[in-house]
Symmetry: none
Subunit: 192 residues, 4 copies
Amino acid sequence: MEDKIPKFDVILQAAIKVIGQKGYHNAKIKDISNEADVADGTIYNYFSNKEDILVTIFRIKLEDYVNKAQQEIEGIDDTVEKLRILIRYHLKVMSENPDLANVLQIELRQPSKDMRMKVRRHLKNYFNVIENVINDGIKKGVFKKDLHIYLAREMYFGTLDEVVSTWVFSGQHWGLMDHVDELTEMFFKAFN
Amino acid sequence: MEDKIPKFDVILQAAIKVIGQKGYHNAKIKDISNEADVADGTIYNYFSNKEDILVTIFRIKLEDYVNKAQQEIEGIDDTVEKLRILIRYHLKVMSENPDLANVLQIELRQPSKDMRMKVRRHLKNYFNVIENVINDGIKKGVFKKDLHIYLAREMYFGTLDEVVSTWVFSGQHWGLMDHVDELTEMFFKAFN
Amino acid sequence: MEDKIPKFDVILQAAIKVIGQKGYHNAKIKDISNEADVADGTIYNYFSNKEDILVTIFRIKLEDYVNKAQQEIEGIDDTVEKLRILIRYHLKVMSENPDLANVLQIELRQPSKDMRMKVRRHLKNYFNVIENVINDGIKKGVFKKDLHIYLAREMYFGTLDEVVSTWVFSGQHWGLMDHVDELTEMFFKAFN
Amino acid sequence: MEDKIPKFDVILQAAIKVIGQKGYHNAKIKDISNEADVADGTIYNYFSNKEDILVTIFRIKLEDYVNKAQQEIEGIDDTVEKLRILIRYHLKVMSENPDLANVLQIELRQPSKDMRMKVRRHLKNYFNVIENVINDGIKKGVFKKDLHIYLAREMYFGTLDEVVSTWVFSGQHWGLMDHVDELTEMFFKAFN
DNA sequence: TATGAATGAGAATTCATTCAT
DNA sequence: TATGAATGAATTCTCATTCAT
């Protein structure tokens, strides 16, 4: 009767919630299986091991993020407008999925080389979205010619990450999206 | 006669190295004791448990950072110059202690409430250094009147964190301090 | 098809044997798991920790003892006969389970306040069996009017404990139940 | 200036207090050294290891008990009077040294064969005091001819142990020596 | 596929004992 | 003798993973 959500998705969602709230190392397989309402063993029918769950979260969610973000700026011409849309989209995704925000921001910074290798490609695409816009802005003369593109990207992601982090840890009392315009303006000026 | 480094410092330094490279959860007590060249049990003569090691690193290092950073800008009047000095100091500390950088940046974001409570005060002082400069800049008219101070702080730390993170993960091939002036300029413009 | 003894019982029995022979502190979890022929971890599927094993032994065994002892004297009217039956039952249980005897008698006296709190209720019921008989005897005039009931109970349990202890430590060469009648007579006279 | 108590005695007394209150296994060498106000290492100048402390307590205290108990009944002729004196002496010693009472009663029941071997001789002398009185009573016709001497000794020690145990665990609210006469009478009748 | 009991390697921590001072 | 920092073997408990049902 019910349209059944595939077990894979149920588990993945449960994992995001649990890992987002407890962190990867404190999240037990049992916590995830409880949250997903399946048996421990069932998880191993869909994921090869615990790390694979984390990698899969990155893979699927970053891919999804990149696709949706690209769609958002599809057809937009104005660089600053693209910037604003991306900022808004980023903060929207994160504010709607604080657990996912936690997973992406914290676990992505694991010093484990191994883990980073495994998501490098998806991370690259994730970075590309904003790098393309920055590049575009430079070409169009909206941003200064000698803008250091990596520095700009680091400022963009670093700032947004920090804003989201503060918001997540502060208990999410205020609206994460209240500052879209101000941030847009700050980036615009910084890049000029 | 022997120049003896106190065991406490030896262990703390070993812990910074190991935790910085492997992350808190992957760093085993045995790894730290091996690195420090002491027995496992010796660690427990100086720290009450594993978490205490991490908290102590934060406490001592943030305290030290704040003190030294304050000294650096002591007597400087020009806001932009203070900003430049802080950026340089930050990148200098981090580039000289990449392991410490990892510990501070990554482990500080552990979602463990307990942990965050324990470093909150030191973190507050850490934030205060830059917030004071920003405030000062606003008063002096160097930065715009309605600059959102938290947003500015988040941009400052977020950006520097991301720059350091990228540098750490990339294998530290390039000079972390090459971009002090460019970053200073970007912040100056963003805050205006 | 297989006559399967539940793991819980297997572990409990193994624990009684090992703890009875070595004492609680000298009995290692590995000893118990070896004796039970299960993995260490399996024990923790049935008991929350080592102390819980000990408390559970007390709970189950004292409960069982009290129930069976009550049944034994069910319907008996003569006080001295009830006394004799209880003594015989006590010595029978202990002689058939010397390890259990050890656990109950020795470990029950651990000075750990915590432990004593946890078995207090069961211990109370255990004491009640004989106290009821003594009370009954007083009312019926079989024992003297001013018999100090706690003193009588202490003599009863103290004596039986010591008899069993000596028997256990001596290597159980002689028959523990050889002296049922003599003990009955001694108590009867002492209580008069 | 102060007449110095030998360190050996200080440590032994501290050990009795700590072991009596916490039990042998929960009593740490550090607890004992703290209580004795000496360094850990100092203890090993007087005792070869932790077990040796316990054995020494038994040896010295049981020896002392036996000597004093013998003195108490020296020259007394009446068997029942000797019995009363011994009971009074036992309860007096225990009520004045509840920690010692704990050590003797609880730790003596360790199922460790090893430990019991090491105090067997002293325990034998301890038992002999009352056994001699019982024997004497039989010869004199004060106790019945066919009294089973071991059973009588077990009743004597078992009862007194239980009385003391109850008193120790109950928090020592009441007077341990209130029941000397009643106990004497009960034993006298039981042995007849 | 789904289950969850069983597994056992692995980790943090304790503490009796040693020994250089 | 006295000290107490250092040691490291030993122990309890955890939890990712397996596999018979």
